[in-house]
Amino acid sequence: VRGRYLAAGAVAAGVVALAWRGAFLPPAGGAVPRTAWGDPDFQGVWRYEGATALERPSQFAGREYLTDEELAERARVEREQAANRLAGLEGDAVGRRSVAESPIRGNEYNSFWQDHGRPRQVYRRTSLIVDPRDGRIPYTPEARRAEARSAARYGVGPFESFLDPDTGERCLTDGVTGMMWQGPNGGHNRIVQSPGFVTILHEEYRDRRIIPVDGRPHGTIPQWFGDAVGRWEGDTLVVETTNFLDRTHYEWASIWTRPSPTLHLIERFRRISADTLEYTITVEDPATFTRPWTAVIPISKLPEDTQIYEYACHEGNYAMPNLLAGGRADAARRGAR
């Protein structure tokens, strides 16, 4: 049954990739840059800089594209919010929940941590998800409940032990699925290639994928980031990842962060212009989703001097002892009442 699922997923991914090719940008012009050994060259620092959300906001239900007026308005808002970010404003003015309204009660990460630096790019699509057509993640009912539970607990607790914060707050990872297009501090990815390998270094949690592209088969050892094997299909890098660890018992983590042994990813990287990678990901996990889903994401190349900096999260995780001390104080107060 699983094999059929995978095959269906692969076919769906292919069809969707064809159907939505150029959905964000005009088709490629000019030659694809190549490495000294002839592979398409993806090297550099990349980040998703678009304003389009993964899932379609309810206001656009039933519509896959913005109108011209909406597109212009979106562009105007992005420019305004970028200026506001540079001016040090917070909350609505920069398109974020205000610190005061945050369930973390005044301790929301402010935009300093999330600064986009320049206006985000606006695209006509109303969601990054192109399949299913409603642009929404097809959670199973149980997964939807689990997501709601973990979202409600985020930053709220109770925190009785180190197992109670999500995997990000524990400095473990935010997971491989969203690595190319999200990250708590900007989502920078540096791609480095040498013959037979494509390596992606993600700044947050210093997450790293060293993807063999040398024809080897999948290994059998389960890992947080699974077992990735790549191949070139023309100028497209196709990466298939399987053998994820089972960390579904970290139940306060969102589905993005905790690996599931039934998770299976098919990703396609294609350089559609000098400064854009078209990244297509098909996510399949019968334990979490009712069907495979696919997102197409334009990833921007950042200026040549952009660096990935060291992310010493665990080494400086003063938040964890503080969180647990807070948990003890809460418990003591409850006991005293």
Binding site: A36, S161, F162, T173, S194
Partner: protein, 302 residues
């Protein structure tokens, strides 16, 4: 043209073609004189999975075998006055005693050239104290990034990914990765665990200057340490298809009286389909670091 003249002409052409072919093949062969591979642009090709095979992770200096990294002194024995009693050698400290021989330390030759570490007097004292308080102080125990050069000779493989403008060194332990900048890349905005690495080629040697360290990392489990004034110059020199020579010169005027050097071969892992596997040890030290801090200790044994 007579046949007499054609034959030498053909021979000359054949020789020329042969030379050309040989030159082509020789240029295409990715090997240098030592048989080490080269990149398309003629540089030594260090790409691959490497590992040190020594005991420097315990102690970078010559060391005798011992029962554990954490030991207690042999306790004085009391008994019948006037009667002598044998005393034990130093004993494994209680927290590691259950490990038995698996927690023991094999003897090993050091990797420090000349074996001496030129500590300033205060620093020699501090090193000794570090060794005595290993369990509390060694950053390895808490899965902190290992620093440079310690990451090189921890007992795990690491991979070099030799890109166009940067060379990545991807270590197993704690998932630490270094970016070696082969083109101008500005300066580090702050001090770091793994340093800020600038590389250049000196002939066939990759020379990497590493700066901007914090004072948190160690050189080994024996308590050898440095300050934030550390500057490391590494040299990676291909020596054969299967090994390279690694050298790290340590400068730290706050801790040492002069620069000193460690040197060791690094060996290529030759098994097919070798790859660096994840060792996300954060998950494995949370109980040690935080278990006792919660309302509930998930590791409390009933």
């Amino acid at each position: 043209m007579s046949a007499v003249r054609i034959v030498p002409a053909l021979a000359a052409v054949a020789v020329a073609a042969g030379v050309m072919l040989w030159t082509l093949v020789a240029n295409r062969l990715p090997d240098d004189a030592r048989g080490a591979p080269r990149t398309a642009d003629g540089r030594p090709n260090l790409a691959g999975v490497w590992q040190a095979l020594n005991t420097a992770s315990y102690d970078i200096q010559d060391h005798a075998a011992r029962p554990a990294m954490a030991v207690i002194p042999a306790p004085a024995r009391t008994g019948i006055p006037g009667s002598s009693r044998a005393t034990p050698i130093e004993l494994p400290a209680p927290p590691v005693r259950a490990l038995g021989a698996a927690g023991g330390v094999p003897a090993g030759r050091g990797v420090v050239v000349g074996n001496e570490l030129p500590y300033q007097p205060w620093a020699a004292e501090r090193k000794k104290e570090n060794a005595e308080r290993w369990l509390e102080r060694d950053p390895e125990i808490r899965c902190f990034m290992p620093g440079v050069p310690r990451a090189t000779y921890m007992p795990y493989p690491f991979q070099i990914i030799q890109g166009s403008d940067v060379i990545l060194v991807a270590y197993t332990f704690a998932g630490a990765t270094r970016t070696i900048h082969m083109t101008p890349a500005g300066t580090s905005p702050s001090s770091t665990w793994m340093g800020w690495s600038r590389g250049r080629w000196e002939g066939d040697t990759l020379v990497v200057e590493v700066t901007d360290f914090n004072d948190q990392t160690w050189f080994d489990r024996a308590g050898n340490f440095h300050s934030d004034a550390l500057r490391v110059v590494e040299r990676y020199t291909p020596a054969s298809p299967y090994h390279l020579m690694y050298e790290a010169t340590i400068e730290d005027p706050k801790v040492f009286t002069r620069p000193w050097t460690m040197r060791m071969p690094l060996y290529r892992i030759v098994e097919p389909d070798v790859r660096i596997l994840e060792y996300r040890c954060v998950e494995f030290v949370e109980e040690l670091m935080y278990g006792h801090l919660g309302v509930i200790d998930p590791g409390a044994v009933k």
